[in-house]
Amino acid sequence: MGDGAPEKESCGIVSGRSETMEENYLLKKIEIGVSEAEKRNGKTSMNMQETYTAYLIETRSVESQLDGQNTPPDSLWRRYSEFELLRNYLLVSYPYVVVPPLPEKRAEFVWHKLSADNMDPDFVERRRIGLESFLLRVASHPTLCHDKIFYSFLTQESGWKEAVYETGFQLKVDSRLKALNATFRVKNPDKRFTQLKHYSDELQTAISHLLRVRARVADRLYGVYKVHGNYGRVFSEWSAIEKEMGDGLQSAGHHMDVYAASIDDILEEEEHYADQLKEYLFYAEALRAVCRKHELMQYDLEMAALDLATKKQQCEELATGTVRTFSLKGMTSKLFGQETPEQREAKIKALEEQIEEEEKQLKAKNLESSDFVKSAWADIDHFKEQKNRDLKEALISYAVMQISMCKKGIQVWTNAKECFSKM
């Protein structure tokens, strides 16, 4: 449509796996899931062969489930790049929203065993979970859930891409946002946004540092457990030459093997924990994006106000004949002769028209800005609460995992001790 306003539809979409949501924004209408992943072969736009993974999105109306009907879900396949397109669209169309992040494009923070290959089944599985999480978060967002493009992403098999491009959202993309390091000298920065930007930097630093070290810890732990497997082998070989102590050694060796094998599941579970942290690492970026957009907006506002002020001053000077500021025109006119009164009159009129126009625009911009700030802060508060809840839960789940690991360890070593006592 191109009118700049995002497409909305009053549908209520809610997740089947719920996080806490404000009831007034949502109607329980459909369940969403990303249930499968499949390897595909296709051709790129350059007509080259490529392999990619497609993900199956299933949707089902909640009502039909409550009625006890077992209607099969509607489903369609999407690939990662389409998710990216959807997210970019949302970013541009709702600049004041902290848009939920996608799971990482490439595997980072890998420890030695994990494959960094996008086709690796473990990676694909974790990505599937991440994509589902993304859809659920968008669906439970008070603003985003009403978006029509989002709805058709979930339900419209073909022609979705065209529909997105038709919105013309790309025109609204401010290329200045891409220049990450560009700073805009804003004269009166909003303190709250400055603080928020600072916080998002700290959050990003903290989480990425944590994930890096966690990967190293995982690596070391893997080493400790796996080397115990060597005990298993040696005990078995040694037991072959022993009579009385052979049995005890052999069975203890078996427990060492069990111990060594147990680390695989333990670390697999921890990857999910790492993914939960990663989500907030990327959320930090989304947070910063909102701050940047505000910064740009503020910058534009200040530039517009400055321009208006300059024009007003010029107008005044022309009208009163006093030159308070240096201008080349002024100099040349002094050198080459004054303008005629008619000429001056025309100039003043032109300027006055511009000033009127710009004043209207500035007013609109100010309104836009204050709307933005209001909406943004509402969303940021919403985000903060969600972040605190989610991360706390994640930390608790980490503790639960450690407890489980300790209990397994006690079990195995108690069994081994029993075997040693029979040596």
Binding site: T20, N230, E237, G248, V400, I410, A416, F420
Partner: protein, 423 residues
């Protein structure tokens, strides 16, 4: 001479160990016989051979320990020529052959080497406890670093106590001198022993015979030899594995420390989450302490035992070689019988003596072998049991820490009261 010679008959005796002594004084030995429960068997060439009659054991048997030795208090000594360490060797005993019930002397590593070689000479086919190595290869730059001294001290302590527990070796005269003589007395005593050259001769011949191979090695010694070879391999592998585990644990410890500090750092930029983050940091710190304890446990118990048995397996191989050598000496003489040029009568006499010598050596080794196997089994049983225990303790400590964290989170009033929250 011929008066005193009695042919040793194997029937009717259930023999234990073979004791050889350098004195011709029968009266000395009658007394010795009475205390130690051994029977006089024969004189030959200035020596006397005894065999313990295990069936006539006295009530107060070696199960009640009557010789207690400690090795401690390492001290550095500096002379113009060299720097060396002495250790305090303290003895407490109720044995009659000791003039006093308590002794305290200082000994250096060289003295231990002297003692060991004297014991080897007196009992070539007994399984002597190993001495700690002269130098440790891996990464030791400074000879007198604290860990090295402590490890050596413990090994020397074990060495002397193993001798004290040995039914034959603990009554060795040189051993008594080692425990009781003052420094100058020891020096004098040392000079009385056989020369270095004669000892070297024995070793050279022993090595040579092992290269040639012994033809008539009895079945049981073939079996022992094969066992020792495999045992040696397995023990060396065990040692490598244990050191590797220690290394991995250490690196795990380092990473966990950093992991904990990251959580503390992060908590500085958070409000609601700060408590949970600090909680995790404190848990990881406590787990680090537990890892430290685990490592200490490994290095105090398992590692010295494995190290000792590595040296034991080398020792066993030399004992087997020496036995082979003794047999080879006999075989050579027996072969010479077939040559008519030799003096048949003196040859028969010599063969008779050597046959006894071989018999003695074999019996000594056999019973010491059984004893060694029993000790080995019990040593490893307790070392491995201990290893299991320290691992169980480690996991129990960590478990307690994480459970405490979990319950602190459950009681935390900062938690959202929304019942939708999953925890």
């Amino acid at each position: 001479m011929s008066e005193g010679v009695m042919r040793y008959k194997r029937k009717g005796f259930d023999c234990g160990e073979c004791l050889r002594h350098n004195s011709n004084d029968l009266e000395d030995w009658r007394e010795g016989h009475h205390i130690n429960g051994c029977k006089l068997i024969q004189f030959y060439n200035g020596g006397i051979s005894f065999i313990y009659d295990n069936q006539n054991k006295f009530e107060e048997e070696p199960d009640v320990k009557d010789l207690f030795i400690t090795v401690d208090d390492p001290e550095s000594h500096f002379t113009a020529i060299e720097t060396f360490i002495t250790y305090r060797v303290a003895t407490k005993t109720s044995r009659g052959e000791f003039d006093s019930s308590e002794y305290e002397v200082r000994r250096r590593y060289q003295d231990f080497i002297w003692l060991k070689s004297r014991l080897e000479d007196a009992h070539p086919t007994l399984i002597l406890p190993p001495l700690p190595e002269k130098f440790i290869m891996k990464g030791m730059v400074e000879r007198f670093n604290d860990d090295f001294i402590e490890t050596r001290r413990k090994a020397l302590h074990t060495f002397l106590n193993r001798i004290a527990d040995h039914p034959t070796l603990s009554f060795n005269e040189d051993f008594k001198v080692f425990l009781t003589a003052q420094a100058w007395e020891l020096t004098t005593h040392k000079k009385q022993g056989p020369s270095l050259l004669s000892r070297m001769g024995q070793t050279v011949r022993a090595v040579a015979s092992s290269v040639r191979g012994v033809k008539n090695r009895p079945e049981e010694f073939v079996a022992i030899s094969e066992y020792v070879e495999t045992f040696s391999q397995k023990i060396n592998t065990l040692d490598k594995i244990t050191h590797r585990i220690y290394k991995e644990e250490k690196e795990y410890f380092e990473e966990m420390k950093e992991y904990g500090s990251i959580h503390t750092l992060w908590s500085a930029s958070e409000e609601d989450l700060a408590g949970s983050l600090k909680g995790i940091a404190s848990c990881t710190d406590k787990c680090c302490k537990a890892i430290d304890q685990l490592m200490a446990g490994l290095s105090e118990n398992l590692m010295p035992v494995v190290q000792e048995y590595i040296l034991y397996s080398e020792m066993l191989m030399s004992v087997l070689k020496r036995r082979d050598q003794i047999q080879a000496d006999l075989d050579v003489k027996v072969e010479a019988l077939s040559s008519k040029k030799t003096d048949q009568e003196s040859l028969h006499e010599a063969i008779g003596i050597l046959e006894d010598k071989v018999e003695c050596a074999n019996n000594a080794l056999k019973s010491d072998w059984d004893r060694w196997k029993q000790n080995m089994r019990s040593d490893f049983k307790s070392a491995f049991t201990n290893m299991a225990e320290i691992n169980i303790n480690y996991y129990e400590e960590c478990l307690a820490t994480w459970e405490a964290f979990l319950s602190s989170q459950a009681n935390n009033p900062q938690l959202e009261e929304d019942p939708e929250d999953k925890l």
